[in-house]
Structures are given as structure tokens and as C-alpha cells.
């Protein structure tokens, strides 16, 4: 016979409230993750209407990806485009964040500007890429403008130079995300105790000194967060270069990112190779995140 306990037990509610998250997590994250790893050990694709496999091939798919030399190349492309976009983005965001949170500047229409800088993020990346594609086409408005003011004699083919394509991708990513980063950094800056700034001012610190000696060090946790999320987002860069180069990664695949390469395997429904590539990306992302985390947190302790 169970004795009725007089103690009201609340912890079952904890588990009940966790159920929705757990179910969603298992169905949409864990199962796909496990099945990706599982699939990566099989030869499994379609040639025309003929299904080939799934045949167990061990680590053959992993070997193929390593030996054909594609992975390092596309990893390099991805990182170049991410860094090109991230550096101006973080500089811009820090600057804007510092201005917006500095009470002595008394900026007017703050809400308006915050909304405006966040705007590009609301546009769909593909629409944004389409816009740039049209703007920078051989007979697009940018070219006609440059020809009219006499910079070029004939249309400059923006889409057939590695530098300009990568530059355009980086610019777009920077424009799209600096608003978001600014908001995040501002939140971090506003969380810093204002008395620290006042104390510094009383001690005669310049604005630069305050920024480097007080704001930046205290902002570190949020900076780490921004770095890691942006890095993961950068590694998964897809829509902007895909639309801008029409899926080719031209010129000579110099703007092809890892996910664009992954997408190439969709045509033949090559789940084996795509799975192996995804596992590699999982590992790379994990390692890089660890590095960033350690690197930015090491000095403190």
C-alpha cells in the first residue's frame, strides 16, 4: 500500500516541461545526426532511375573525400570568404555598439538607426544575392555607371574574377549580419556597470582607453558567443554564393563553399558521400569552436 506523502513533489513538472523540447530535439536533431553518420558508411546513390546500394563500404567514402583533395580547397574558400566578411563586420559592430551605448554622445533617433542597420538581415539572403547578381552583371547598372564616369573602357566582368566574387560574397554577408552583431554587442555593453565608465572618466581616461581597457575585456563573453555563432554560420555559408554564382562557384570553383559542394551530391542522391562530408564538417566545426573558445578565454585564468 502506497502511503500518501505529505510532501508536494514539484520535480515531475520539470520533466513534463522538458518533453516538448526533447521530442523536437530527438526527431529533428538527434535522429538526423545519427542517420547521417550511419549513412556515411554506405555506397548509396541513384544513377538515372537505378538505385545503387546501399552497400556497406566501411570508411571508403571518408577516404574518397580526403584523397580527391576537394575538402581542403572548399574549406579554404569558405574560410577566406568568412574572414573577409567577419573582420569588417565585427569592427563596424563594435564601433556602432560603442557609439549607441555611450551616454555622453546623446545620439538622436537611436531606435530609427537600430532598425535601419538591422533591416538587411530581414531580406532573404537569396533575394539579396539576386539583387547583387543583377547590379554587378556585365551590362548591369554598376558597370554602366563605371563606364560612364570613365573608370573602365568596357564592362568589367565582376563574376569572372575570384577576388571580386569573393569580395561581393563577403560584402553581402557583412551587410546582412552587422546589424545583428551590433544588437548583440550593445546588449553586452549595456550590461557593463556604468560606474566603471564613470570611475574611468573621473580618473581622466580617454574614450579610446575606456574602450580598450574597460569595454573590450568586459565584453569578452559576448564576443566569444558572437565569434562562435558567426564561425558556425560562416562554415555553413551557402545561399549567397550559390545564388550569386548560379551554383557554379565560378571562377574555377574559387567561391564554392563546403555546403555548396555538399549540395552537388544532391543531383545523384549520393547519401553516402554527402554523409561523410557532413561528418567531416561536424568535426571541423567542433574543433574550430573549441579553438575559438579556448583562445578567447585563456588569458582570463
Amino acid at each position: 500500500m502506497a502511503k500518501k506523502s505529505k510532501v508536494v513533489r514539484y520535480n515531475k513538472w520539470g520533466y513534463i516541461f522538458l518533453i516538448p523540447f526533447l521530442v523536437v530535439f530527438i526527431v529533428f536533431q538527434l535522429i538526423p545526426l545519427v542517420s547521417t553518420i550511419y549513412n556515411s558508411f554506405f555506397e548509396n546513390y541513384r544513377s538515372g532511375l537505378t538505385q545503387i546500394g546501399p552497400n556497406f563500404v566501411g570508411i571508403e567514402n571518408y577516404k574518397t573525400i580526403i584523397t580527391n583533395g576537394d575538402l581542403p580547397l572548399y574549406f579554404k574558400n569558405t574560410m577566406i570568404m568568412w574572414i573577409l566578411g567577419f573582420i569588417p563586420q565585427i569592427v563596424l559592430s563594435l564601433l556602432l555598439g560603442a557609439w549607441f551605448t555611450d551616454p555622453s554622445l546623446r545620439l538622436k533617433c537611436q531606435t530609427f538607426f537600430k532598425t535601419v542597420i538591422y533591416m538587411p538581415n530581414l531580406i532573404m539572403a537569396s533575394a539579396f544575392a539576386m539583387l547583387f547578381f543583377t547590379l554587378f552583371a556585365d551590362s548591369g547598372p554598376i558597370n554602366s555607371l563605371l563606364i560612364q564616369i570613365g573608370v573602365f573602357k568596357e564592362a568589367f566582368k565582376f563574376m569572372s574574377h575570384a577576388g571580386t566574387v569573393r569580395g561581393l560574397v563577403a560584402t553581402m554577408n557583412c551587410l546582412m549580419w552587422f546589424g545583428n552583431t551590433t544588437i548583440l554587442l550593445m546588449a553586452g555593453m549595456m550590461g557593463i556597470d556604468p560606474s566603471l565608465f564613470e570611475a574611468a572618466q573621473v580618473d581622466g581616461a580617454t574614450a579610446n582607453q575606456i574602450f580598450y581597457k574597460i569595454t573590450l575585456p568586459l565584453l569578452r563573453p559576448i564576443l566569444v558567443y558572437v565569434m562562435i555563432t558567426s564561425l558556425i554560420g560562416g562554415l555553413q555559408m551557402f545561399d549567397v554564393p550559390q545564388i550569386l554564382t548560379n551554383g557554379t562557384g565560378d571562377p574555377m570553383r574559387s567561391s564554392m563553399t563546403l555546403i555548396m559542394y555538399l549540395n552537388k551530391h544532391l543531383f545523384s542522391k549520393n547519401f553516402g558521400l554527402a554523409g561523410a562530408l557532413s561528418v567531416y564538417m561536424f568535426i571541423i566545426t567542433g574543433i574550430l569552436s573549441m579553438v575559438v573558445y579556448k583562445f578567447t578565454n585563456s588569458e582570463k585564468k
Partner: protein
């Protein structure tokens, strides 16, 4: 209190997304795995039609509008439904963009056996570039099993049948179009630079690739360009001596190699552009200020691509001329295939026969829709009188040339890999033409891309 409301809200949204997720997976599974086992093998002896639904898969409304205006029993219900007698016609229209049409059709055909009678595909349409992918499998039904004989199809052009003949020699589809193509030139520019705009005289100036190059020098000298390098690709690729893939291995034909070398030469001489087909830059040539001498295209190109209804285009002023060009070739076209397992075999047979062999229907199509139809007799009639004169060609009647071209096309070298190879070759070679890679580098990239698309094809 407030906190509780917030957490309740959070739970509500979470569960809502959960159910949304479940809902979509459920509906997806019914589509593929609905297995009410009603195996209808009506097709073999052409037993009476048992199907109440005729499922047609296609990628645009072209065939639908043809059926609507030329198949007498067809009644439209709405954009994706119709009726023929008691049979409901259901259109599954999936655009070709990003391979979506084929992906969708693949799934439908692979599930054909287990699909319920009302869900079975009855008819599907294919384009030449990937026709063999479907024709060379058991998913497409031989026309002779439908009771369509060679005599029924005798008036069609042979090349239109070569495309849909499988490796065992079975004919598995039919088309109402004959898309022989040629060179569409700018009359005014021809008069100015070449001194004539007469189709026969212009033809003499571009009758082979050497003459084409000589003419291009004159055009460049006058400050114009011929066309895009990709315009000429199909002229070469239709005249190859072997298939793209032989014994599971990618083979570069010497005519493809010639396209690469010729195009590079012409691009370097600034006689050709490297604009992608259908792009904005490419389309500039439709207007006089685009300074482009010619396009390469078949009959559908006249109406579909030259923007004759827009003010200020060359077509609007009737400023184009048509000649066969350096080599005969074809481009595009739609073939009707019957899917194995159809439960409306008689109806399917009647649709194929009416739409592709009935001369009255074909003539109607040619006159109403300006299609170049797949009938030697009808084309001859059109060529012989004024009814074939086209305004956008300045009153020229192109049907004699179109018919002549259609006779010359030889398509025995088509393979199921053509679409992928064409796309990837054009992408890779653009890099070579623009000087971003050497020919070998570009070829390597092409081979790599083909191997990605077709992992079973070896490329070295």
C-alpha cells in the same frame, strides 16, 4: 503569474511546431507508401480502361494548352484538373528549375507499382536531353504495347523517334514537334555588313564553320558581335560521332573539342560573347542596340524567345531572317511517354495518336501556335503557301528550311547523361573562354563535376 503565462505560451508554440512537423511527415508518407493493392495490368491486351483518373506529369502548361485547344473531348475544370468523358485528368506540373521536375517524376515512377490506381502516373512528358533516362527503363511503355504501329507514325521525322527509342530498339514516346533549328540573323546588320539579307545568300556565307569564322571577321570589323559561344554549342553537340558515356566511361568527342577550340578562338577575337543562355546580358541582342548578329534556335525560339510583342525589339519590326546555318541540328521539344502500369491504356493511346499523328490537329497546332509540327506532309503544305509566312522574319517562310533541317538530323548518339554533361561542360568552359583557366584545368573541372553528378561514370 506572468512567468507562468510565458512558459505556457512557450510550451504551446513548441507543441504547435511539433504537430506541424508530424503533420507534414504524415502526408508525405501517404503519398509514397499508400499501398492499396489493386494491380492493374490492363495494358498488355489493352483491356477496357478501369482508371477513373488520368495522371499527367509535366513541367509547364504547354501540353495542357495544346490538349485544351486541340483534343476535342477535353474539358477544363481548373488549372490542374480537367475531364475527358468520365475520366478526371489530374495535372502534376513541376517546374524544371533545379531538376525539380525530374526529382518529382523519379519518386512518382519508383512508387508506381505500389501506388493506388488513382495515383498511378499514366502519361509523362520528357525533354530530349534526359529522355533516355526514362525511356531506357521499364517505367516507360513501348508504344507497340499500346497498339500504336510504325504505320501510324510513318509521317513523323525519324530523329524525333530516335530520341525516344531504347537500347533494345523499342519506341517509347512520340512528339508533336519537330524542333530542327538554324541561324536567326539580324537582317539590317546583314545588309550593312554583308551587303545582303537574302536567306540563301546569307546561308552561303555561314554554310560551314570556316565560312562562319570568315563572316565573323567582317562582323567584328563593323563593331558588332556574332552571338554567344553557348548559342553554337548544340550545333556541335548534335553532330558528334559517339555518345558522351561509353562503357561507363566519359568520352570527349572530337566535335565537342572543336566547339571548345572554335569558341575560344572566336571569343578571343571578340567575335563571340560568353553570356549564359537566357541571362539578361544574352537577351540584350533581341534589340537593335544589343549589336548581336545572330541567335541559334528552332521554331519555338521565334515566338517564345524573341519578344516580338515588345516595342523596339528586332522581332517587333520584323527584322530577323532565318537560314539553316553551319550544320543542321535540333533543340528542345517535348515527348509524350506512357507510363508502365497505366490503367487508362486506351485513352493514353488515343491521346498520343491524336496529338502526334492526326494531320488536321497538327496543322491546327502549326497555324494557331506557330509550332513546327512533327509531320512531313503538314510542313510541306505550310512551306508551299503563304500560310507559313512569319511577320517577325520580315514575311519569310522558314518551313522549307525547317523541314529540310529536320530530315538531316541524326540522333543515334544521344545518351541518358546528355543533360548533366551539357550543363557542366558549358559551366567549365566558360572559365577557359574567359581566361581564368587553361583548357586542361577546365576539362578537369568538367570531369570532376560529371563524376559528382553521375558517380557510376569513370572520367579518366
Amino acid at each position: 503569474m506572468k512567468r507562468r503565462i510565458v512558459s505556457l505560451l512557450a510550451i504551446a508554440t513548441m507543441t504547435a511546431t511539433m504537430f506541424a512537423g508530424c503533420g507534414s511527415t504524415e502526408s508525405a508518407s501517404t503519398e509514397t507508401a499508400d499501398s492499396s493493392t489493386e494491380s492493374a495490368d490492363a495494358a498488355v491486351e489493352l483491356a477496357e480502361d478501369t482508371g477513373k483518373v488520368l495522371n499527367i506529369h509535366c513541367w509547364n502548361d504547354e501540353f495542357q494548352s495544346r490538349l485544351k485547344s486541340h483534343y476535342k473531348d477535353y474539358e477544363e475544370v481548373d488549372a490542374t484538373h480537367g475531364k475527358i468523358g468520365d475520366v478526371d485528368v489530374v495535372w502534376t506540373i513541376t517546374p524544371s528549375t533545379d531538376n525539380a521536375y525530374q526529382n518529382n517524376l523519379d519518386e512518382a515512377l519508383l512508387a508506381q507499382e505500389s501506388a493506388s490506381a488513382d495515383d498511378k502516373v499514366d502519361l509523362f512528358l520528357v525533354e530530349a536531353d534526359y529522355a533516355l533516362k526514362y525511356v531506357d527503363t521499364d517505367y516507360a511503355m513501348p508504344l507497340k504495347d499500346l497498339g500504336i504501329t510504325d504505320a501510324d507514325l510513318a509521317d513523323q521525322y525519324k530523329y524525333t523517334q530516335d530520341i525516344v527509342t531504347d537500347s533494345n530498339g523499342n519506341l517509347k514516346g512520340a512528339s508533336w514537334q519537330a524542333c530542327s533549328a538554324g541561324l536567326i540573323y539580324n537582317r539590317e546588320m546583314a545588309k550593312e555588313v554583308l551587303g545582303t539579307d537574302d536567306p540563301d545568300e546569307v546561308q552561303a556565307l555561314v554554310s560551314d564553320w570556316d565560312k562562319f569564322k570568315e563572316t565573323s571577321e567582317k562582323i567584328v570589323g563593323a563593331g558588332y558581335k556574332m552571338c554567344s559561344a553557348f548559342d553554337t554549342y548544340r550545333t556541335y553537340s548534335n553532330n558528334v560521332s559517339g555518345k558522351w558515356v561509353q562503357d561507363g566511361k566519359l568520352v570527349m568527342d572530337k566535335n565537342i573539342d572543336k566547339w571548345i577550340d572554335d569558341s575560344k578562338e572566336l571569343v578571343d577575337a571578340k567575335a563571340e560573347t560568353t553570356d549564359d543562355l537566357w541571362g539578361d546580358d544574352w537577351a540584350k541582342g533581341k534589340r537593335p542596340e544589343g549589336n548581336i548578329f545572330c541567335y541559334f534556335g528552332p521554331a519555338w525560339f521565334f515566338n517564345f524567345c524573341l519578344a516580338a510583342d515588345e516595342e523596339g525589339t528586332i522581332a517587333n519590326q520584323g527584322g530577323w531572317g532565318y537560314c539553316v546555318g553551319p550544320q543542321s541540328y535540333y533543340w528542345g521539344g517535348t515527348w509524350i511517354c506512357a507510363a508502365t502500369g497505366t490503367d487508362n491504356a486506351n485513352l493514353v493511346k488515343d491521346i498520343i495518336l491524336t496529338m502526334t499523328t492526326d494531320k488536321d490537329v497538327l496543322k491546327e497546332i502549326a497555324q494557331q501556335d506557330a509550332d513546327c509540327v512533327n509531320s512531313k506532309t503538314v510542313l510541306k503544305e505550310l512551306a508551299s503557301d503563304e500560310s507559313g509566312n512569319l511577320e517577325l522574319l520580315g514575311g519569310q517562310n522558314p518551313y522549307a528550311q525547317l523541314a529540310e533541317g529536320a530530315e538531316k538530323i541524326d540522333l543515334s548518339n544521344l545518351s541518358a547523361y546528355d543533360q548533366g554533361c551539357t550543363e557542366e561542360l558549358e559551366k567549365a568552359m566558360k572559365n577557359y573562354f574567359l581566361g581564368n583557366a587553361t583548357k586542361d584545368e577546365a576539362l578537369d573541372m568538367f570531369k570532376k563535376a560529371v563524376h559528382e553528378k553521375y558517380p557510376d561514370v569513370t572520367v579518366d
